[in-house]
Amino acid sequence: MLQIPGSTRCPLCLCVFATVVVLLGRLQLPGVLSDETSNIAIAAASDGDKRDSITEENDTNHEDASLMFSSEAVDRYRFELEPYRVLVELHVMTPRLIEGKDLQRLSAKLVSHIHRNAGATWSTRVVVVDADSFQSTDGHRRDNGSQKNYDKVFRLAIGRNANGFELTGSEFDVPTQQRTSEVSRTVIAPRFVAHELARMTAALFRPVAIVDTANEMNVRIRLKAGLIACPNPNWNAIPVDSYLTTYRLYFDRDKVIRKRIEVPWTFLKILKTQRAQADCKVISAFRAPLAGIQRRVETRALVATPLSNVSELRIERRNDRRSPTGTLRVNLAHSFVPGKPVDFHSRLVTDRRGTQRLSKEETPIQFIFVYSGDTLLARVPVMIGLEEVIELEVPDDETQLSVDGQLNQIKSELIDIVARRTVMIARVKLLAKQGKFGQLAAGDAGGQDAREENNVSAVMKQIELLPGVESFRKKILAVRVPAVARSESAGDRAAVNRINKQCDEMTELVKRYLDDDKLKQLEEQVDEWKTIDRLSVDDPPKEPAE
């Protein structure tokens, strides 16, 4: 049985109700369902005892709707046919600002405004609450017991500031336990308060949908109360290109919600709407976050409306949330297509606490890429302004950074050695050209004395003393073994592969630039020149080949 919204004693309300009923009578179900619904006798679920009136005194005035559905259809389209059960909690922050009859009048006007827009899609109850409920921002959850019969709870507060009346409010979705951030507005005159509160309610209201079918990239959703006509078509509508966040609700056998989990880093983008249904594209950090059907699990979606222009990104380590992650590079892109280069429009760095303030961009969804050095730690889509704080967990990058640093130092050393060796080889050739072959003194290990000797033998000895391939291989091994062991013990397979790859590349680099064969070749050449020099004492030595 449909509830008669508004006061049935009021002729105006009766007229409104009659209009709703007429509209409902004309209502057509979505195309795919049209055949099935053509013969439906409208018989609203007889849960009138659970419905609340919009005011306390109208609680008992329930009437059945004249249009009836078949019970099968009603079961199937229960979600689309059920109106939102809405509780509006009103609180006057400033003492004696609005009292008594004024407050009652304000409540009535607010109900009237809401009803004029929401029509039968909302079953609204307005209550005036005391200050205690407003003391904590987590008040929604504390009042869970009294709120369980509602789908949405709006908390509206009226206060006074220098410019007039300050109105603040937030919305709480009871099944998913999700609360919007608080918004506030100011009106100058008292007569605008009710109207502005209604507008605020509309702005805060997040329509709810249920995920019907889902595959990897696309899902179809059904809109709550989507089959109920609404006087204001924008009130309960989800326009194309808007976004939704998703939640998994786990029910028990008694159909009571036992667990709620937000599907992280996942958004639905509305591609096409038709009546109470909509086709969406999945934007997620995961491959198929909504695929798969489980018993007694329902996937709900809430329209995501950013109420702020900024969000704080807080990056934490997965295994050690207390210690700060330090500076990480955070790059932002408007879109991301796997396998294609990403065009970053912002390159930021987190502060010492691992936080970064993100500002709203042109496109609502932004892809965040978190890097530690060259390693990508996370790539997630976010909607800036939807939440005050976006918390992102990343794997521990300590080992990876340590490897990066050590390999970098080895590389620097390698470049120096290669440069030095090149110079020495050139020097050997020059000295050979001048016929200064010389002989190294016995027992001279090629230290300072050898360095000062200006002949081929001395310089050759210096070249031999330079660190070679084996020396570098040992250094790389000293980096690889402990790092791989640490990553394996942490169960980070990706890190193990990455470290092995980096070390292999470095080994290849060493082999390429410190090839011992070149040195042997040079030694042979020197021997050759020496022989020529010995044989032709009078002749100038042959010019060494380049």
Binding site: P324, G326, T327, L328, R329, L348, V349, T350, D351, R352, R353, Y371, S372, G373, E398, L401, S402, D404, G405, N408, Q409, S412, E413, I415, D416, A419, R420, T422, V423, M424, A426, R427
Partner: protein, 887 residues
């Protein structure tokens, strides 16, 4: 020409032969246009002997040789014959007045003959008079030995003799010089005239010296020598004329000091110069008037003394003396009046002025001492001054310069500051805190503020509210936000007006380093009231007085009736050069030199008039890259730059002055003194965190060249030279120039950019900075564990964003350095960071130099080791330096 001379010589020979007097010779005459014999036209030789054009020129035909000729040609004399013709000969000796001397000799000789004949007639026992011998000797007086010049201008080997009776007179080379000098003096070409005069004087000195050698011989022979050891006749007159002309010119040009020097020279000469006293008075008067206007009374007094020495009781000197005495008296009276009215600053200034004007005024010294003891002024000699203002620009140099650092340290008032170093670690103290106690294992710190102030302290008594207000800007977003402080501080809790607690989110290794919050720094530079309020927390306030003076005044004067007072005012005087500054110190213009160069340390240490105090930390010299410079992104080039520099050699040559020392022993001594060292870190090697195991890069020009070659393509892509910016200091600039040269040697296109403070001063608003890639920096990191990150980020309160130019793994190591909570671990981590930064050439460390300040012995109360130039200035005592001429 030559043929004619030979004809003349033949004729003279014939005449001599007939007279029985042997052979004679004749010199070569020259015409006006043939000054040098070497330049004679060879065709003249072919002309016939009887031709008139080949005869020596007449004296009238010859013109006086010009200065240019006289200075170039070989010296010559004109021998004027009786017939009016002139023969040019090599200068005859001895001279001048050769003819007159011979006349005198002949007179004597005739007298000898007469006496001999008389004696022969009267006394037979004596040896008879030898007439033949007499005649032979007389004959020698009849001739001149002369040397002619040949065609090449060289003296001929054959020496000729000419009979005296044919010679009318000699015009000597010196006479030509004198004539030309006089002519030039009259013409106003004093420079050339001086040149000739110097030439003549040198030549005359040599002549006198030669004459003194030969004179005794002549004297013995001739019994009546001629006075050849006297200066050339007319030389002194010419000199005096020239000096007088020069005085007139210099006076006209306003170069009074030089003009007076000439007058002193004239005064010393034997000749009486008429009107010299008047001229001296005029010059002195004009000069004194000028320096008087400029306030340079020292110079004025010096000139008065000089004039007095020349002409005691001169009218001009007496006039100025009287004027200065009167002025000093007036200033003294005014000063004492101010002083008795407790306006010590004005009183001391007046007395100081009086002392500057006329220090010998009776009784002034005693009063000056009394006032200077009550209101003590430290006079400090510096090479640069900050540009002024709280947010002063540092010229076009992108970093804080020494002058600004000096000012910041003097003006700022941190809650905690480094007081001294022990065992290689900084130790902190606070003038505001009675105590600070860690609680809850260091997670909470309780601070107890001092609610009283010592008489000598120049600081306000602050409350908890003031401290909280100083902390707030650092903890809330804005320009002064300190990300690091925000990370550590959880809560600041006021407990009472004099007590507050800080709860820390994490425990730092040395919490004191975190709380070096400057209480005197305004949170909002645009907020005047805040600036005034914060300014009241400073100990001294600076005010620019003219271009070369900066005066800092104590903000909290000391109370009355104290037994001892301390520095009330600091006067920084800027000198244009280091040498001028040292001269100023030696002239007592300043009492304190905040920094002297290393080569002068030994000299000052040996000077008993001064104390030489070392600074607690040496100054680290290093090169820092601009983060967004394309050259910084080339690691091989960074290392090449390091390999290309011979740092040890540069240090010794440019800073230790080893090259200026002559002996090897001195060089070794200065090396052993170890006042400068090549280092690998941008902080003091004496600190614990310095990693001694990091080896200094060798000077390897070959490796450097090869490394530049590695990145040659990317260097070409940059398409502009690498620019090294350097502070405007002569020594630093010289070193930086050498560094650039060494880079150029390895194929790196580099240039030196000079940061010009004058340019910045004229553009205070725009603060135009120069484009640069690498900066030559001189810095002193007080606590490297905390300051190293700031140094790399180039900001006092670095954010993570400021470090993003560094690789992530280095940033992580820097973060560990900040977050480590154990002192030993922090030192370990600092050593690790030092190693990384050195190996990766993030900075290129050059060397460190021990720094020294010089105090005159009338200053006391300064610390044994200075952390900064005005360390503990509140406690310094300046005794009046009565030897001080002036400031």
């Amino acid at each position: 020409m030559t043929s004619f001379i030979r004809v003349v010589l033949t004729w003279l020979l014939f005449m001599s032969a007939t007279a029985g007097m042997g052979t004679i010779s004749v010199a070569v005459a020259q015409t006006n246009d043939e000054t040098r014999p070497a330049q004679q036209d060879s065709t003249a030789e072919e002309s016939s002997a009887g031709e008139t054009e080949d005869q020596p020129p007449l004296l009238e035909e010859l013109s006086t040789p010009k200065a240019e000729e006289l200075l170039k040609v070989r010296p010559f004399d004109w021998m004027v014959l009786k017939n009016g013709r002139v023969i040019i000969v090599e200068p005859i000796k001895p001279r001048p007045n050769r003819l007159e001397w011979i006349e005198a000799l002949l007179f004597n000789h005739n007298d000898i003959k007469k006496k001999g004949e008389e004696r022969d007639a009267g006394d037979d026992d004596q040896e008879p008079f030898d007439l033949a011998k007499w005649r032979e000797k007389r004959l020698t007086y009849e001739y001149f030995d002369i040397v002619l010049y040949d065609e090449t201008g060289e003296a001929e080997e054959t020496e000729f003799r000419i009979q005296r009776k044919y010679v009318e007179k000699f015009i000597h080379f010196e006479d030509h010089l004198l004539n030309e000098t006089s002519r030039l003096t009259k013409a106003g070409d004093l420079r050339t005239a001086y040149e000739l005069l110097v030439f003549l004087t040198r030549r005359d000195t040599q002549r006198i010296k030669d004459a003194k050698k030969t004179l005794p011989k002549i004297a013995v022979d001739e019994e009546k020598p001629f006075p050849w050891d006297k200066p050339w006749p007319g030389l002194e007159i010419a000199r005096n004329d020239l000096l007088l002309a020069d005085v007139a010119t210099l006076r006209k040009a306003g170069r009074y000091e030089e003009a007076f020097l000439r007058i002193e020279d004239l005064h010393q000469s034997d000749a009486v110069v008429p009107g010299l006293s008047r001229l001296a008075g005029l010059v002195a008067n004009e000069f004194i008037a000028r320096v008087d206007t400029a306030g340079d009374f020292r110079q004025a007094r010096f000139f008065i003394d000089r004039l007095d020495k020349l002409y005691p009781g001169h009218r001009i000197s007496e006039k100025w003396k009287s004027q200065y005495r009167q002025r000093a008296e007036t200033l003294r009276t005014e000063g004492l009046k101010k002083f008795s009215g407790a306006d010590y600053s004005a009183g001391a200034t007046k007395l100081n002025d009086a002392y500057r004007v006329w220090p010998t005024l009776p009784g002034l010294a005693v009063e000056y001492r009394r006032v200077a003891t009550r209101y003590q002024v430290l006079r400090s000699g510096v090479l640069s001054l900050p540009n002024g203002g709280a947010n002063e620009p540092h010229g076009s140099y992108p970093f804080e310069q020494t002058s600004s650092w000096r000012r910041r340290k003097l003006v700022s008032r941190p809650l905690l500051h480094v007081s001294y170093y022990r065992d290689g670690s900084p130790r902190y103290r606070s003038s505001y805190l009675e105590d600070w106690v860690p609680r809850d294992l260091g997670r909470e710190l309780r601070f107890l503020l001092r609610n009283e102030r010592d008489s000598w302290e120049s600081r306000p008594i602050i409350t908890t509210a003031d401290v909280l207000q100083a902390f707030m800007p650092a903890l809330k977003s804005g320009e002064a936000f300190d990300e690091r402080l925000e990370l550590f501080i959880n809560e600041i809790r006021p407990l009472s007006p004099t007590e507050f607690a800080i709860t820390l989110a994490r425990v730092p290794a040395r919490p004191e380093a975190l709380f070096r919050v400057d209480l005197a720094k305004p949170s909002d530079p645009d907020d005047e009231s805040d600036e005034q309020h914060r300014g009241s927390f400073a100990s001294f306030r600076g005010e620019r007085v003219g271009n070369d003076h900066l005066v800092y005044t104590r903000l909290f004067p000391e109370p009355e009736q104290l037994l001892e007072y301390h520095v009330a005012e600091i006067q920084e005087r800027r000198y244009r050069s280091y040498n001028e500054m040292i001269r100023g110190f030696n002239r007592n213009e300043v009492d304190y030199l905040p920094r002297i160069q290393v080569p002068d340390v030994k000299k000052f240490r040996e000077d008993e008039r001064v104390f030489v105090q070392p600074y607690a930390l040496p100054a680290s010299h290093f090169l820092q890259f601009r983060p967004d410079s394309p050259y910084f992104k080339l690691p091989a080039v960074r290392r090449a730059m390091r390999y290309a520099m011979d740092r040890q050699s540069l240090l010794e040559k440019e800073f230790l002055g080893v090259d200026d020392l002559t002996s090897e022993a001195e060089r070794n001594a200065i090396r052993r003194a170890n006042l400068g060292r090549v280092v690998t870190a941008p902080f003091a090697s004496t600190l614990l965190g310095y990693n001694a195991l990091v080896r200094s890069t060798r000077y390897e020009i070959g490796t450097a060249t090869a490394l530049v070659f590695v990145d040659r393509e990317r260097i070409q892509e940059i398409g502009r030279p690498l620019k090294l910016v350097c502070p405007n200091d002569v020594v630093f600039l010289r070193a930086a120039g050498k560094i650039v040269e060494s880079w150029q040697r390895v194929g790196l296109n580099a240039e030196l950019v000079i940061a010009n403070p004058k340019k910045a001063e004229s553009k205070l608003e725009t603060q135009e900075t120069v484009e640069w890639d690498v900066a030559y920096r001189v810095h002193r990191l007080e606590d490297p564990v905390y300051d190293f990150v700031s140094l790399l980020a180039m900001k006092p309160n670095p954010s993570s964003e400021d470090l993003r130019y560094l690789p992530s793994w280095i940033v992580r190591e820097l973060q560990k350095l900040e977050l480590v909570s154990d002192i030993q671990e922090s030192q370990e981590q600092l050593r690790r960071v030092h190693e990384i930064v050195a190996k990766e050439a993030i900075l290129i460390s050059l060397w460190e130099l021990d720094e020294f300040a010089v105090f005159r012995r009338n200053i006391r109360g300064f610390p044994q080791q200075l952390v900064h130039p005005y360390d503990g200035i509140d406690t310094w005592v300046i005794q009046p330096n009565l030897a001080a001429g002036e400031f």
